[in-house]
């Protein structure tokens, strides 16, 4: 379990997250949803240890986050919204390097299996700068899953993926969950939250306005459509005003 306790985070006096408290249970898929700039990526960067804050605490059930952040990072795979690559490396070389830096042996069979799943065999030995956006995204996803992480953090993982790959990624995530992994992903595609998410965290202007089970949320809001619930919670009146501008 990951417990976030009264965490705030600011950059240049601009508060990105304000007094966030939430518990993320193990072996579940938690989906972060929120408007652009609401604080989803900041939240993921904070719990992955990429960013550090002095206000509030983050606890991992099995590791002391503050004292042993690298231990958390060893057990975590984090996909950035715009995945980073050494552009002159080929996809396979990049993933080999990431495995080495994680002190993991590169498992060629596992890599080939992912490559086959995402149908990117012909792109394996092409430098990243030559690759289409969707293929880069697939290599990014593979680099996150290769070391069998306990915590999988994905910032908008469906970006640039074709429909088949989206479907495959969803299946992969469900399978990882069955193996006891904790998955947190941010997305703007609410259908993904409904299909594979166990829990949802709605972030609005740096604050969590809902965190809990999706079914409970629907029941609580007396609405079956997540899109409508999201709009209502993040300012239904504003939405109506916007509609009138069309």
């Amino acid at each position: 379990m990951i417990k976030v306790d009264k965490v705030s985070f600011s950059v240049n006096d601009k508060e990105l997250l304000h007094n966030i408290s939430v518990e993320i249970p193990s072996s579940e898929i938690t989906v972060l949803i929120g408007e652009n700039g609401s604080g989803k990526s900041s939240f993921l960067k904070l719990i992955s240890g990429v960013w550090e804050t002095k206000i509030g605490d983050i606890h991992y059930s099995d590791v002391d986050f503050k004292e042993n952040m690298n231990k958390v990072k060893e057990q975590t795979g984090f996909l950035f919204e715009n995945p980073f690559f050494y552009e002159s490396l080929c996809g396979e070389e990049f993933i080999k390097l990431v495995c080495n830096l994680r002190k993991n042996k590169f498992n060629k069979d596992k890599f080939n299996n992912f490559v086959e799943l995402f149908q990117i065999e012909k792109f394996v030995d092409i430098p990243v700068f030559e690759l289409p956006k969707g293929v880069k995204q697939k290599f990014g996803i593979i680099s996150v899953l290769m070391h069998n992480p306990k915590y999988i953090l994905l910032d908008e993982p469906m970006n640039g993926l074709d429909p088949v790959s989206v479907k495959i990624l969803k299946e992969i995530l469900i399978n990882e969950k069955k193996q006891g992994k904790t998955i947190i992903l941010s997305t703007h595609i609410l259908e993904i939250a409904e299909k594979i998410g166990d829990r949802v965290i709605i972030i609005d202007k740096g604050e969590i306005i809902f965190a809990g089970n999706i079914l409970e949320l629907k029941k609580e809001q007396n609405n079956d459509v997540l899109e409508d619930i999201f709009i209502n919670l993040t300012g239904g009146e504003k939405y109506k005003e916007l509609l009138s501008l069309i």
Binding site: G49, V50, N70, K71, F84, L89, C90, N100, L101
Partner: protein
């Protein structure tokens, strides 16, 4: 109006993190360069005037200024060629401009002005310095300042247009980045050649006041073919303001006609040969260098090997090496010529040791900054991995330090052999060869991390700060050591005083290096 708006937006609105400090820095840099150029020209004209009447002085100055602006124009032309590819091919803005309903002429104008700003700013800055010294020394009318600036703008239009024409033609011929690589190599080799030429011309004769051979020297330097170059027309415009025998009509006519001709030529070549999708060609080169990292190594070694591998795969890094050939030739030239001059052996030994430091510092300025500058996204990515950020800094230091120390040691030992130094100089030169690279590298590491979101360019604040600070430190240390060595030889100080002073300096440099290393790690940790 639309083209002006587009052009100025594309130059000024794309800068990140603009602040008053940055503006102030560039204003100071501009003033520093103008004053440097003014000082050089003023010193030379003073020497000439001291030895000749007004008429001869104007003549000698015209020869000097002719050569000075000719060298400037050649250097500016070569560095502009390096900039053509990023401005015309690599810049994502050009794709954006193509997506707009904008006339092609406006797109060309936009690119041209952008390149002009990169390629002509330094040339015009140095020319302004020369014009000022001419204005002061020969009591020329104030209008010469405006005329000088205008003339250098016209001259710059000529070489910027030629650079565009050549690059676009070669890129279309060699297809994409392969053409770009060839162009950079050619211009870097030529640039080194010109640095060597300047050294072979022995410019120290011009600054060495009271040298009776200066008249012969100027006569020998005079190059008749220069009158066909725009540099010569700028000089003629200068002279017309003080010498009634020179008419400024023809140089102006040539400048306007030639700049218009080359501008139209580059526009026509752009229309005919330019293709926006030129980005192929590097793939084969990359595949020739195999990725080979030992997974049993510790993280510092893995990171070091990764850096080395990435540097090897980026061909542009190797093209930078051409730029050092010029400085190394200067070092060799000094060994053969300066070591034979009687009376100044000690001074020249330390001067040439300064050249060794210059080689080390410029190697770092070009290669280290080139490889590790503007890597904000990389650091954020590395922070998501279970590695220490101090390992990232250590890996970079370990990659460069042995090379820098071996290079410095080797060159300084050659220096010592040629200048037949005593044992105390050998000791401090060996120490210099070890401690200065540590100081330079840790300083470069820290400066490379202070503006991480910007892309690399030699004229960005961190690189310039490094250049100034490494230059000043090296200069003051060598002056101090030179003076102390002389005092030791004259028995003014004893061995204890000699070594304790030097040890204090080394200790100070090592403490500052350690601080730079710590600050560097801290900067990376704070990188968001």
């Amino acid at each position: 109006m639309k083209n002006l708006i587009l052009t100025f937006y594309s130059i000024f609105a794309r800068k990140k993190n603009r602040n008053y400090f940055t503006d102030l820095f560039y204003i100071l840099l501009f003033l520093f360069l103008v004053l440097g150029s003014y000082g050089l020209n003023y010193k030379v004209t003073s020497n000439i005037i001291a030895q000749a009447d007004m008429e001869t002085a104007v003549y000698f100055f015209s020869v000097f200024i002719d050569i000075f602006i000719f060298f400037l124009i050649i250097m500016a032309f070569l560095s502009t060629m390096i900039h053509v590819f990023p401005v015309f091919y690599d810049d994502s803005e050009i794709l954006f401009l193509y997506s707009l309903p904008v006339n092609k002429k406006i797109i060309f104008f936009n690119r041209f002005i952008k390149l002009f700003v990169y390629g002509a700013a330094l040339f015009i800055t140095f020319t302004i310095g020369a014009v000022f010294s001419f204005y002061v020394k020969f009591s020329a009318p104030v209008s010469i300042i405006f005329e000088g600036i205008l003339a250098s703008i016209f001259a710059a239009i000529c070489y910027v247009s030629i650079a565009i024409s050549i690059t676009i033609y070669i890129v279309s011929f060699f297809k994409g980045k392969r053409g770009r690589n060839m162009l950079i190599s050619i211009s870097a080799v030529l640039m080194s050649g010109f640095i060597i030429l300047i050294r072979l011309a022995r410019p120290e004769v011009l600054i060495n006041s009271g040298d009776a051979s200066i008249t012969d020297y100027i006569e020998n330097l005079k190059m008749g073919f220069l009158s066909f170059f725009p540099s010569s027309w700028i000089k003629d415009i200068f002279l017309s303001s003080v010498d009634n025998t020179v008419n400024s009509f023809y140089p102006w006519l040539y400048l306007v006609l030639f700049s218009s001709f080359f501008l139209i030529l580059s526009w026509k070549i752009w229309q005919k040969f330019y293709k926006i999708e030129e980005n192929e060609g590097d793939f084969a080169d990359i595949k020739n260098i195999q990725f080979n990292i030992n997974e049993n190594n510790d993280e510092v070694k893995i990171l070091r090997d990764k850096e080395l591998f990435l540097i090897k795969r980026n061909w542009i890094n190797f093209q930078q090496i051409w730029l050092f050939i010029g400085v190394i030739v200067i070092f060799i030239f000094n060994l053969f010529f300066l070591s034979k001059l009687e009376g100044f052996t000690n001074s020249f030994l330390f001067l040439n040791s300064g050249v060794v430091m210059l080689i080390t510092a410029s190697f770092i300025a070009r290669l280290f900054f080139g490889a590790f500058y503007g890597k904000h996204s990389e650091i954020v990515f590395l922070k998501s991995l279970p590695i220490k950020l101090s390992s990232v800094v250590l890996a970079r230091i370990r990659l460069f330090l042995p090379l820098m120390i071996v290079l410095s040691l080797l060159l300084n030992l050659v220096n010592i052999l040629f200048f037949k130094s005593n044992v105390h100089i050998v000791v401090i030169f060996i120490m210099n060869s070890i401690i200065m690279p540590i100081f330079f590298l840790t300083m470069a590491g820290y400066f490379s991390s202070i503006k991480m979101k910007d892309s690399f360019s030699v004229f960005t604040i961190p690189v310039q700060l490094f250049v100034f600070l490494s230059g000043f430190t090296g200069f003051f240390m060598l002056v101090y050591q030179g003076k102390e060595t002389w005092r030791l030889q004259k028995n003014i100080i004893n061995l204890f005083e000699f070594y304790s002073g030097n040890i204090a300096i080394y200790a100070l440099l090592l403490i500052v290096s350690f601080l730079f290393y710590k600050w560097n790690v801290k900067k990376l940790q704070k990188c968001l």
